[in-house]
Amino acid sequence: MTAFAATRATFARILSGPGGIVGTVIIVLVVGSAIFAPLVVTHDPDALDILNRFSGPSAAHWLGTDNLGRDLYSRLVYGARVAMMVALFAIGSALVVGTLLGMLAASLNARGERLLLIVFDIISSFPSLVLALAVVAVFGPSTALVTAIVAVTLMPHFGRVARAQMLTLRHAPFIEAERLIGASPVRIALSHILPNIAGPLVVLASIDIPVVITIEAGLSFIGLGVRPPLASWGTLIYDGYAYLSDSRVPVIVASAALAIATLGFTLFGEALRDAVDPRLDREGR
């Protein structure tokens, strides 16, 4: 079972440095809370308790309550769920679409390739915040829309890396060998090139997770993302910000969660990158 052994070796290398260990611990906590949110919360995240608003951390409310008396810890846990869902769907679709378009670009003639690269450049050079403002102005804010905007913004990363990786493999002996037995271009691309370029793409995906978390939080903070009462780290910070004079706890707690999660995924992504291929192009994005 080499594939398994390789995965295990990769993990061993991730855990060989302090960054990898810290990152992995944080990720396990964040992803665990997201998946098992109903089991780990202490309160209904949307249950109001106006009399107990802005209560500080206590045995009943581990991290205290917000301006409507909702349990902050429980809302943070559900916020992790939102952040992870957006990251999963946005990066997942950006990965699939970007990879396919990038591989298509590498297979097309010079003209088609240039056209696709120009599309990538246009998307990359378009400020995502302006794009978000425009789209939200038309459709109104929603979680699905945030996910779609982030996916489109990230897609060129994967497209460029997939294209570059495929170009380096195009004349590899095993690809020529496949042509020699008569394998079709589609078979070669999907069965032989894709498995061999997947590593760098997965690394890129993991490095993009913290980017997505901050974009989601940022859009939600300015009211262009997740709609209240749904708990997102961005809306938690916003709610806390509005009542900063009453209590600093909500802002500090939600910001800390956002910062720690971002740090954890960044550390993990970098450790994964170094574990998979120390020579991976860091300018790929």
Partner: protein, 321 residues
């Protein structure tokens, strides 16, 4: 051989240029008859690989025509790409690198069956027969390419080719990187397969002993051109082109009674971007004459049927061989 019959593979004044300057192949004509074993020798950069790639349709000829069974290769590929791939197979030089790294050998050897939509049950049975024939344990099928030894990887690559029951096999350095004992086994195997299925081989090799042992006809290339073409025995007995003579003189021969005078060539093979005027070999030829610097010799037939591209072939110069 088989004069009058259509050669199974032929090249008719084929040239391959990369960009404006590099001529990797220059006016190469070659006929390979069914059942023949042709050897192709020459230094690195002489165009051997380009010749094979062009023959296999991996690269296009800039001018001239490659033919398969008398039909231009481009037409055959348009009409019947898979049929051509079944008929002509190629073994790449680096066998380990020629196997898709994330697939087990079993999937690799079954892949041609899927690509060509051949019946799976019969194909699998043939894989087992070929495994025995190639001396590969069945457990090798569960391994990934990097877990195979060089000899095993070579055999898996051969199995992949043979499963399609080709009529022609183009083999690029089939013995490179193998132990001498494994080399011997492999050559015996290739000869057995030749006898059994009447395969046609084009064997590219640096190893002159390999060429001498198994080929019937040899083609010598220098800087993109064929400089000599002769029955292997005649070529090794008395090379006609000074380059062939130099090449053969460097070949280690296990024969203590026999001493060879080594002809040491000066310098490197010239760059194909800046090809010498006249005869391409004149910059390094020990017998260079003024004429060689100006006129490019044609590939012409000598009295004994061999062909040589030299104004002053050695066979005609008494006592040189």
């Amino acid at each position: 051989m088989n004069a009058g019959r259509t050669p199974i593979l032929s090249m008719d004044s084929v040239s391959v240029a990369f960009g404006d300057k590099v001529r990797a192949l220059d006016d190469v004509s070659l006929n390979i008859a069914r059942g023949e074993i042709v050897g192709l020798v020459g230094e690195s950069g002489s165009g051997k690989s380009t010749l094979c790639r062009t023959l296999m349709g991996l690269g296009e000829a800039t001018s001239g025509t490659v033919r398969i069974d008398g039909e231009p290769l481009a037409d055959r590929l348009d009409r019947d790409r898979l049929g051509f791939r079944r008929e002509v197979q190629m073994l790449l030089q680096d066998a380990v690198a020629s196997l898709s790294p994330r697939m087990r050998a079993r999937r690799l050897v079954e892949e041609p069956l899927h690509v060509h939509r051949l019946p799976l049950a019969a194909g699998r049975a043939r894989i087992l027969t070929l495994l025995k024939r190639l001396g590969l344990p069945e457990s090798a099928l569960e391994k990934f390419p990097h877990q195979l030894s060089g000899g095993q990887a070579r055999r898996v690559a051969i199995l992949r080719a043979l499963i399609l029951q080709p009529q022609v096999i183009v083999a690029d350095e089939p013995t490179a990187g193998l132990d001498v004992s494994v080399q011997g086994e492999l050559l015996n195997l290739m000869l057995d397969l030749h006898a059994e299925f009447r395969l046609t081989y084009l064997i590219v090799s640096h190893n002159l002993n390999v060429v001498r042992r198994i080929t019937t006809r040899s083609v010598v290339m220098y800087l993109g051109q064929i400089v000599e073409e002769a029955p292997t025995a005649a070529l090794f007995r008395a090379p006609a082109h000074p380059y062939t003579a130099a090449l053969l003189s460097t070949n280690p021969v296990v024969d203590p009674g026999k001493r060879r005078v080594r002809i040491v060539l000066r310098g490197e093979i010239p760059s194909p971007i800046n090809v010498p005027s006249g005869c391409r070999f004149h910059t390094r030829c020990p017998h260079v004459q003024p004429r060689c610097r100006q006129d490019m010799p044609d590939l012409r037939a000598l009295a004994d049927g061999r062909k040589v591209r030299c104004h002053f072939p050695l066979a005609e110069t008494a006592g040189m061989a």
